[in-house]
Symmetry: C2
Subunit: 659 residues, 2 copies
């Protein structure tokens, strides 16, 4: 293609963006106009993709981390021929129901790899995709999962802490197939980047071990050469692309307003004149569209060759590859946990809560080889490494990622792995630090990614480390999140059941919450049913008459509720105990079941070593609560439970107050 | 002091830590044993402090960012003579009620500058202290607020995103009086730091514009020289102190177990032999204690000179200095907001919610000059800069900190400012990104710091930017946090009232939540009372009979509730509307008031464009809810409110369903 051709190709992106943004009355033109040449270089010469099969497992991944520039992505998907991005979609940018939403929303079937917008998440997702690729590449051999991961990124993503964590960890892990293109336009929404940053960003990457190429972002040939260098270099690469924000809009380009200042028809008209683009809005001339569609078919040979390679894999490898790509669990995984559950019900000793989770997951290490575990420098106290090897530069087959003290990128990495496919990611840290990971957890919930977020040290049971390390509000804050299932099992039996439910859940993330302290057995009678499946259930029914009281508890407090029930029953008060390992699942049950469990006419007292917020829907107007009223304190666990009034005696008192 | 003396001084720290940790049965010896010489150099030769007046406004600030090493701080406070850290406290380390809690808890009266433990927070707090110092220094002239801020920091703090954000921003702002001492022990809880980091940390600081000195952390003279260099250098300084973790415990030093592996009596005995420390546990020989107490009096002359300088300030400056140090608000501040409130009730146009907050705060720019505002690259859409100047290298008198896209360090900076005193910090960003700031918000709530966390774009009203930018669960997650007051005013009148309450609140943080869209007036009749003070109140009483329905709403949904009330009243259903700008304040009211507002016998329907979670305590068993069931979508605001069923029509239907 001649040089005038490539400029037309880039301008096609520009005018689709301009026309859509003018029509919508809002949008962010800075990115699509500033990165049009970079995108053209990548999509017409380097990216391995197939618009006819957007979910081709071995496609290169492309993440628009500066997701506000969504029209860049939509323009590319339209031009290269993705079925769900016809011109009608571009015309309805930002309207209800359009595929062209304000920010890109996860939809791999349509060509969107991941939801982006909250800054820093996208590049951290891309990092996770590159980890998954390296792991699967090692597992199946080169040529099966063997692709690059590209991310476009603006200044904001690189200022965010999660972005900085990613730079450090990706450099450490030397993920050579991760390539960032930085839109170095030196403008933010507030004005010059010099308002808030002085450091040499390229140098910051180099310190972390990255390969950096500095290039004119409007010189397509130079960008293409830089991409070629990046692909060849064994280090992760960052292309520092010097660009002009909103290039092509004379009134705004290179200015603060270029970011998202409103565009009008007259801006579009002026741009048409200046760039010699005499076509009507949303009209792409045939020759330009033809070239773009050709680019969309560039990887067809590679696609066919890949299919042949997969087809000629030995049958067991082929079956395994198909299985993990489909996200299906293998034969026997459930039996492993059923056996654990049966054995757990007969054990004498009471293991620490998080140790139960570690035991369960260790049993799955070989049964579910697609599991990858990230942990934030807490290997010993959370114990989910065990028989896993570390994922390192030398050993890409290791399934345990030492994330360092970087919870945020750990969570976002897991999202990227889940979006990539072929891998089931877990992350492990303390519950008190889930707040550090929370922006990524929200994205998992929003995207419906089946990440397992595992937490230990779930209450004042942490004891002497004090209130900084004692979650009290965090269970509530996570239960408030749509599409997040929060599991807090009471013992090893429930833990096995909850882990079965978490591994079965594919429509969203699961938060697995465990105590640090020992969880004595509360499910002493074996039952084949997964009782946790309904979220809450009657663990011990009232005896000696009509139920007058229902004690509802979770996790480590179920044992306290059982002890209180003994005292109440002894006093002639017919009392049931409900274990509620997962409120979200319970809420999905029908009203009759819920009412039968809660006890329509019973006084209900909830017991949880956390705040009451969110529990009133079960307590109703006559019941009570035994738990925390504020932050915790530093002291021995027994002293704290007594001090904060979370004991069988206090439960009995609370019941009597409400009877 | 001779060299043998200084070693004894450092060893006094070591043995207090060892004895306390052995007695407690747990603790983190790695830091106090590894940083004993660094601490001795700082506290005996450089730190400006006065144990007899721990809150001396011009003291150097000292933050133990690696807060798990709390025994280092407690040992220093004991040795230098802080009244609340007698040997009885050291002996009760980690026991309920001891000042020596598992992690240091904010208590400036006792000598603890800030709560630390969650990694990265402490150094970011220290950064905020340095900003406050520079601002107050510019305001009152050198010699009044003119001190250094020191922080001890481990590898974890520097891996955390918030730490990286701090490095970048502090370098940019060239805060020359901020000095970090890095405990470069090359060991983490998981083992060698090489498991998770490869970059040259010193170089990373240099890239960001820091002055770095590399030094042997066990050579007290070298550390002292490095501290002298750091104080003289105009850049922020980082002392990379090469240390051995748990130095002195032969079995653990330099090892992974050095971090917090359990210490036993035999370890203490061996250490006593090896370090020639023949003293009983918790016993400090007189000569050593005498030297330490002398060090504690080192700054007495400076202290007296400072008091004289303050005493000889011109009377207005003196009064102003005393006022802001006491955290008292000036004459007239309230009148400014009362006037705004009165005028707001007569305005014709309906300003955008966040613009109302901006107007109010702009009126206070000169009235409350101690306000400092941080904003995360959203100056225009959130508009809280206006007549403020930027805080820059050249202009330390600017009160607006351009934080860049770094929400987390912004929040932690504000905590450091509030802990420093003399400054009232606000932070401003979008509510959807409060999750990025949340770990700092939790620390503000835990410490009881009066930070104002301001948020815009508070619901699906954000519209076309889509679900990433639409908070639905975030109000609930913040209301779940103990000691956090969440204000969501309905119009400009309520906004003025809520801002009065926020500025009056000194016992904890306030979250101020505003819509992006216009907030039409709902408080059209002027009332002198601050009706928002009780958290919730009857905005429109039922008419034409006994109240049958109570609609409870917040923020932008109050106007919808009023419109629904019109329809219900027209249908003969006596309906009241309750505005609930602050649930936490409402919950603090007595039961009689709460019952009168909610309507004991009324059907109650809550209306909020967010999830129901947490609202059931007001809804009761017969009521309903109109709001969000999951994440939002991208589209026009009207289309979204209709799609999600948050309109007067839907409210009326929900009421009728429950009547």
């Amino acid at each position: 293609m001649s040089s005038i051709d490539t400029q037309k190709l880039s301008n096609a992106i520009r005018f689709l963006a301009i026309d859509a943004i003018v029509r919508a009355g809002e949008g962010h033109q800075g990115v699509p106009l500033g990165m049009a040449e970079i995108a053209t270089a990548l999509f017409t010469r380097h990216l391995k993709f197939n618009p006819a099969d957007p979910q081709w497992p071995d496609r290169d991944r492309f993440v628009l981390s500066n997701g506000h520039g969504s029209m860049l992505l939509y323009a590319l998907l339209h031009l290269t021929g993705y079925a769900n991005f016809g011109i009608d979609q571009i015309r309805t940018f930002r309207e209800m129901g359009s595929h062209c939403e304000g920010h890109p929303e996860f939809d791999t079937a349509s060509g969107i790899e991941v939801t982006t917008g909250p800054l820093g998440q996208g590049i951290a997702n891309a990092f996770g995709m590159a980890v998954a690729e390296a792991y699967l590449n090692a597992k199946f051999g080169a040529g099966i999962v063997d692709h690059y991961t590209y991310a476009f990124v603006g200044d904001g993503c690189l200022q965010e802490g999660v972005g900085q964590e990613m730079i450090s960890l990706a450099g450490h892990l030397k993920l050579g197939k991760l390539i960032l293109c930085w839109d170095d336009n030196r403008i933010t929404d507030d004005g010059s980047t010099t308002l808030s940053i002085s450091e040499n960003v390229s140098e910051r990457f180099r310190v972390a071990g990255w390969h950096v190429v500095e290039v004119d972002g409007h010189d397509l040939e130079a960008v293409s050469d830089a991409l070629a260098q990046a692909k060849a270099d064994p280090r992760p690469s960052m292309l520092a692309c010097r660009t002009t924000i909103a290039r092509g809009i004379a009134r705004l380009q290179g200015q603060r307003g270029g970011h998202s200042g409103r565009l009008f028809d007259k801006d579009a008209d002026a741009a048409r004149n200046a760039m010699n683009w005499p076509h009507a809005p949303f009209e792409i001339p045939d020759d330009v569209l033809h070239s773009w569609r050709e680019a969309g078919r560039r990887s067809e040979d590679e696609y066919r060759a890949w299919r042949e390679r997969v087809a000629s894999l030995p049958a067991p490898a082929r079956a395994e590859f198909d299985r993990i790509q489909a996200g299906e669990l293998p034969e026997g995984w459930r039996q492993t946990l059923e056996t654990y559950k049966r054995d757990a019900g007969t054990r004498d000793e009471a293991p620490g809560g998080i140790m139960i989770s570690a035991e369960i997951n260790d049993l799955l290490a070989n049964v579910l080889p697609e599991r990858m575990v990230g942990c934030a420098d807490l290997e010993a106290p959370t114990s989910h490494k065990r028989s896993l090897r570390a994922f390192t530069v030398e050993d890409r087959g290791g399934a345990y990622v030492h994330c360092g003290v970087r919870e945020h990128v750990m969570g976002a990495m897991a999202n990227g792995m889940a979006a990539h496919g072929g891998v089931i990611p877990l992350t492990v840290t303390y519950l008190a630090f889930s707040d550090y990971e929370r922006p990524a957890m929200r994205m998992a919930a929003l995207m419906g990614l089946p990440v397992k977020f595992v937490f230990s040290h779930d209450s004042i049971g942490v004891a002497k480390n004090g209130p900084t390390h004692q979650p009290v509000e965090i269970l509530a804050s996570l239960r408030a999140m749509p599409n997040m299932h929060v599991f807090r099992p009471a013992d090893a039996v429930e833990a096995a059941e909850c882990w079965m439910l978490a591994y079965e859940r594919t429509s969203g993330p699961s938060t697995m919450v465990f105590a640090r302290q020992a969880l004595p057995l509360v499910r002493t009678k074996h039952e084949d049913d997964n009782r946790s499946a309904r979220g809450g259930y009657v663990l011990a029914e009232a005896e000696g008459g009509v139920r007058r009281v229902t004690l509802i508890a979770t996790g480590s407090e179920v044992a306290l509720a059982l002890a209180a029930r003994e005292q109440l029953q002894a006093a002639g008060i017919a009392t049931a105990v409900v274990s509620m390992p997962c409120c979200e699942r319970f809420d999905d049950e029908d009203a009759a079941y819920r009412s039968s469990v809660l006890g329509a006419d019973a006084v209900r007292v909830v017991v949880e070593a956390a705040v009451r917020f969110g529990w009133d829907r079960y307590i109703g107007e006559r019941g009570g609560f035994v738990g925390m009223k504020g932050f915790g304190a530093s002291g021995a666990a027994e002293a704290l439970y007594e001090h904060f009034g979370i004991t069988p005696r206090h439960i009995v008192e609370e019941v009597k107050r409400h009877l």
